[in-house]
Amino acid sequence: MSHDSKHAAHAHPSGATYLKVAAILTIITVIEVWAYYIPALVASPLFNPSLIIMSALKFAIVVLFYMHLRYDHKLFKALFTGPLIIAMGTIMALLFLFGKVAL
């Protein structure tokens, strides 16, 4: 790892980017809550998957921008994504074993 890339790791985005990210997060949250109040949407089979996707999107945005994972050392990406994959896999496996999701 050279010194150049180490300094690049500190090149965080500006305040304006943070505000834009906050705006996007707010918009997604508004859409989520709005959808919750439309019975036709709630009844749709796509409701749960789309909510989970929106939630995952928010999760990823915060991790990538606010936690700087997009800009930071690759080591941190590994330290976070490895455990995250195992955690998600465990949740899925448990839900399957308890008959909450079908294969």
Binding site: Y18, F47, I52, F65, A87, L94
Partner: protein, 234 residues
């Protein structure tokens, strides 16, 4: 002989270690930042276990109140769906905004000492105030906890305690674990604010703000998952 550690300091004076003793590290990164990321990885498994349990027991409660559906007990008493989406949406928004405040606090600490461009407006000047943003993050975190306290007490008034049913046990434990994490975060932020007020935080202290920020954002993303999985999905 010359001290190895001191020689290493001279070799690696890359800006943020000029003020104090700094050890050579293999990656050039600080120990504490690696440790906090490993800790966050571990926390993923903690919340995965809690969330799994909540979802496994979802819909398995024998008596109400229930989260999304009405419940009538043997005596004919009606319990409305207990989750209060408007209030929780508000508290979710508050926690999201606290993440914004946190990231701006870190930026303010990093920028401290860099001269402001001439004719900088109010926002540019506010951007430099680490005390304002640290205080704001703590305040928003405390507001979130206030919402949670309100939610918990109103649930108890409506007849849902941690002993009532499986929903009560899993709900209060999961959100309680999260609330405990927020509480620790608020205390951590207040400690940073106190340090900032007493001796001032600057670019050299970037790391201690950074690790707190990472913890805080992680607590926020856990809530993003909880809000969708527990509150919105029925």
């Amino acid at each position: 002989m010359a001290s190895h550690a001191h020689a290493a300091t001279a070799g690696h004076a890359d800006g943020h270690d000029a003020h104090e003793h700094h050890h050579y590290t293999t990656t050039g990164l600080d120990h504490r930042k690696i440790a906090i990321w490993a800790f966050i990885g571990s926390e993923c498994m903690l919340f995965a276990s809690l969330i799994s349990t909540y979802l496994i027991y979802k819909g398995k409660s024998l008596v109400g109140p229930f989260p999304h559906t009405e419940y009538v007990n043997e005596a004919g008493k009606v319990f409305k769906p207990i989750l209060d989406i408007p209030v929780t949406s508000a508290s979710t928004f508050v926690l999201l905004m606290s993440s914004l405040a946190m990231v701006l606090a870190l930026q303010a600490v990093q920028l401290k000492g860099t001269p402001l461009p001439t004719g900088a407006g109010l926002w540019k000047r506010l951007e430099r105030s680490s005390q304002f943003w640290l205080g704001m993050t703590a305040l928003l975190g405390a507001t979130f906890l206030g919402f949670q306290a309100y939610e918990f007490t109103s649930f108890v008034h409506e007849g849902l305690t941690i002993k009532t049913n499986l929903f009560g046990s899993t709900f209060f434990t999961l959100t309680g674990f999260h609330g405990a994490h927020v509480t620790v975060g608020v205390l951590w932020l207040m400690t940073l604010l106190w340090i900032d007020r007493t001796r001032g935080l600057g670019p050299k202290d970037e790391l201690i703000v950074d690790i707190c920020a990472l913890y805080w954002h992680f607590v926020d993303v856990v809530w993003i998952a909880i809000f969708t999985l527990i509150y919105l999905i029925q």
